[in-house]
Symmetry: C2
Subunit: 144 residues, 2 copies
């Protein structure tokens, strides 16, 4: 079941409606692999679909997060960011604090250790966030 199906199922399950705006936003959102803030996605959409309002973009991104096809993240720049979840595999982020570059990575060993820590404290983990902040190779070379 792909993301579009998941989203449509979610809509009908909740008695919500399928609208052209929601479909357009979903398409554009899935097309890219970048980490959109509401504003960024709104600006991108505005080029082709100037009628779509900021509030609708934001509400729709929240819907994506609710139905599980997007993850809401916050990298500390004061804006929430959303990224498509393409499968069940989880990934974390390397964030360059100089140029804003975001690299995704997966490290099963870290995940396993997290589970161990949680178990030691009798916690049941629902999700987690791991972000490594630093300087990417390019910025290091540039002397930043």
């Amino acid at each position: 079941m792909d993301q579009i199906q998941v989203f449509n199922n979610y809509l009908s399950r909740k008695g919500l409606k399928t609208t052209s705006q929601r479909m357009i936003i979903l398409e554009t959102f899935l097309e890219s692999d970048s980490h959109y803030s509401t504003e960024e996605l709104y600006l991108k959409l505005r080029v082709e679909y100037p009628k779509i309002g900021y509030a609708t973009v934001h509400r729709t991104l929240k819907l994506f997060a609710e139905c599980g096809i997007a993850a809401e993240r916050n990298f500390g720049d004061g804006q929430a960011r959303f990224e498509p979840i393409h499968g069940e595999d989880h990934h974390d982020h390397l964030v360059c604090t100089e140029c804003g570059l975001i690299i995704e990575f997966e490290e099963p060993q870290i995940e396993a250790l997290q589970e161990a820590v949680a178990a030691a404290h009798n916690f049941t983990i629902a999700n987690h966030r791991l972000e490594l902040y630093g300087c990417c190779a390019t910025c290091v070379a540039a002397g930043n």
Copy 2:
């Protein structure tokens, strides 16, 4: 060198002044091991020191973070939180999404793996954040 010294050094190095408000806020902040938002600390201080304003609390917490005796964190509830840094050892957090309980933990193996991941991507890590969100034993038992 304890935190009070670090803070005073920082103040004089930057040409800033030692005020009674700053000392009161620092004391109260260090006394507790909880993770204060500006508002929480402001409300706590207000009981004994009703003259201290919200802006001063906030500015002072920012100062703590600047001089390295506090860390600013964001657990996704929309409020920044500050916690005292008691030594050079780093720790991460388990956050109960039901009751708000925050448990600190350290896991050197995870830190080591993070370094390995960063090295593989030619990143130089300055800092990181790791938070595990879930349900604590008490809330699980309560059926949440």
